[in-house]
């Protein structure tokens, strides 16, 4: 809830940074669902983040193309307005799969339906054949890598390595103004909170318990009469949906959809956000993302020469000393503090065994 105060205490540049970080909390929350609770490590969430950001950027780019002067001059020449990068790459007709993105309704439906549907079919096909574990992780990784290569290779249709950028309006509203950015910031925060709450509902439902059961003992779940493939594919699709929503918000706020957010490196970074936050904690994933990004910004501003090494050191420390991430650390601190308060409040009546118990509870790490 601190996040709601951010716009009022920092300058617009910092606010913009936090807004950007927030977009990456979505894939991290999705990973808590699919990896922490479902036991499926996806190394390719960048693919779904990318789908969301590209769909949104395509819509925005078409709007920009229709407005820009050069666009309209060319549009008179070609008979339709083309995005600038298509013109530069001598693409003369808007590809058919770009056309529906003139419509905002279609774009929103595409963002909310295509990534999870694709993810569900991919995951179900694999899990039904009982391809899982590391093999599935590698497949997700390969798909993310392929997607970024295809995007870079097909410059005329995708904007190539530059991505899709240079758009300024959303339905005619200037998205670069500070006021609109603030509105977008709040929309992002609200969407994020809604995502965390829905994910929490899923985990609290019977489906959530079955996911945990599958993670721990998949073979046994079949003998309880469930088809684990559908449940795992569902979790994977839900994570893909979250990643796509994050991607779409990113494109809207940053004015960019780029292959550098699709490939292997961003996908693995998303896993790191979830790991730093604690892969079992939805809220932890949000804070994990913000902490990693803040560390990134802090180190790169203050130690421009060695910041990557420092960031690497942080990751190693977390993995070695905090296997349950920041959420686990918070839990441990809470359990250390709680019994102490008990001891202070009732020192006189404390019987020997009452003294023993709190110390034991406090020193025992959570299971």
């Amino acid at each position: 809830m601190l996040l709601l105060a951010v716009p009022f205490v920092v300058d617009p540049f910092r606010e913009q940074l936090v807004a950007k970080y927030l977009c990456f909390t979505f894939p991290a929350v999705g990973l808590v669902l699919v990896w922490g609770h479902g036991g499926i490590l996806s190394l390719g969430q960048g693919l779904y983040f990318g789908m969301g950001s590209y769909f949104m950027a395509m819509f925005l780019k078409l709007e920009a193309a229709a407005q820009s002067n050069t666009g309209s001059a060319l549009s008179q020449f070609y008979g339709s307005s083309l995005p600038d990068f298509m013109v530069w790459n001598s693409v003369e007709v808007l590809p058919w799969w770009w056309r529906p993105f003139h419509s905002l309704a279609f774009t929103i439906v595409a963002i909310l339906v295509i990534p999870p549907l694709f993810a569900f079919l991919l995951a179900y096909a694999n899990f039904r054949k009982r391809v899982g574990g590391v093999y599935f992780s590698i497949i997700t990784l390969a798909l993310a890598a392929m997607a970024s290569i295809v995007i870079i290779g097909q410059q005329g249709y995708t904007g190539g390595v530059n991505g899709i950028t240079d758009f300024k309006t959303f339905l005619g509203v200037d998205i670069l103004s500070d006021r609109v950015k603030r509105v977008l910031y709040f929309i992002t925060v609200v969407t994020m909170v809604a995502s965390v709450l829905s994910a929490r509902l899923v985990l609290a439902s019977r489906t959530g318990k079955i996911l945990v059961a599958i993670r721990d003992r998949e073979d046994r779940v079949r003998f309880s009469g469930y088809n684990p493939a559908t449940f795992k594919a569902f979790a994977f699709a839900a994570a893909a949906l979250l990643a796509a929503v994050g991607g779409a918000l990113f494109a809207l706020q940053e004015g960019l959809a780029s292959p550098s957010l699709v490939g292997i490196v961003p996908s693995i970074e998303m896993v790191i956000y979830a790991a730093v936050g604690g892969r079992l904690s939805l809220v932890g994933a949000v804070y994990g993302t913000l902490v990693v990004f803040s560390a990134k910004t802090f180190f790169s501003e203050n130690f421009p020469e060695i910041w990557l090494y420092l960031l690497g050191a942080v990751f190693i420390l977390v993995v070695v000393f905090l296997p349950t991430g920041l959420a686990g650390l918070a839990e441990r601190l809470a359990s250390v503090l709680r019994p102490r308060r008990v001891r202070v409040s009732a020192p006189v009546r404390a019987m020997p065994e009452e003294i023993d118990t709190p110390v034991e509870v406090g020193s025992a790490p959570p299971a």
Partner: protein, 242 residues
């Protein structure tokens, strides 16, 4: 007849684990399957419940041919399986373990909107009491003792309410006291349904069995009451000759 196994054969890399086996289980019957290690007892259960696909033969459960189906489909028809090592969901509580085993709404969407109702909670309470875990509903299964885990797994089967129950060594690794309570529990559990029990412990078999099947090298060696079996010279040879 609820289960009819005919000419069931499976081989792994040339080793024939079960070889032309015939077995018939009547309704409400409690059948014990005994035999030396490697006789193919567990493999037989694996094939009935869909875990292993037979190379030849048929398994008929009521009107259904089980050899064509996979595990969860067999389970949904009403076959329950208890494994040799206790298989519970360790990160879930006793309550949640039982809840998951409740045979309703087994799809993703159904499970997403599944709500606990009074009937379910009554059933959970009832089952938990029967498996001696009435006071442990909130305890994570991973924290239970070995014997309690075995009971919990039997409880999960009770929630499933299968028509055919497959139990693989239900008293393995239990203390004498736990063994006694388990025998008591199983007598209640198996009433009104057909059961196949695999067991090594002869005293325990004598306590519960109606009919005993002796397996040896993937085949049925003998079948009959416990007294008949113990008097059979072929059985004595297999057991004492090794």
């Amino acid at each position: 007849m609820i289960l009819s196994v005919e000419d069931l054969t499976v081989s792994f890399d040339g080793f024939t684990a079960v070889d032309g086996l015939d077995l018939a289980v009547e309704e409400d019957e409690l059948r014990c399957v005994i035999g030396p290690n490697g006789a193919g007892k567990t493999t037989l259960l694996d094939m009935i419940c869909g875990k292993t696909r037979p190379s030849r033969g048929s398994i008929k459960f009521k009107a259904h041919e089980l050899t064509e189906l996979i595990e969860y489909e067999v389970t949904r028809l009403g076959v329950g399986r208890k494994f040799q090592t206790p298989s519970t969901y360790e990160d879930l509580t006793v309550l949640e373990n039982l809840e998951i085993s409740y045979p309703k709404k087994r799809g993703v969407v159904g499970s997403l909107f599944f709500a606990r109702d009074a009937a379910l909670m009554d059933k959970i309470d009832d089952v938990a009491r029967r498996i001696y875990l009435g006071d442990h509903l909130g305890v994570k299964a991973g924290l239970l003792s070995h014997g309690q885990k075995q009971w919990l797994e039997i409880g999960m089967l009770l929630m499933q309410d299968p028509e055919l129950l497959l139990l693989d060594e239900p008293v393995a690794g239990m203390s004498p006291r736990e063994r006694e309570r388990t025998a008591e529990l199983l007598t209640g559990v198996t009433a009104g349904r057909s059961t196949i029990v695999i067991e090594h412990d002869m005293a325990f078999v004598r306590m519960i069995a109606h009919t005993v099947t002796v397996m040896h090298q993937g085949k049925v060696l003998a079948e009959g009451s416990m007294d008949e079996i113990q008097a059979d010279p072929r059985v004595i040879e297999v057991y004492l000759g090794e």
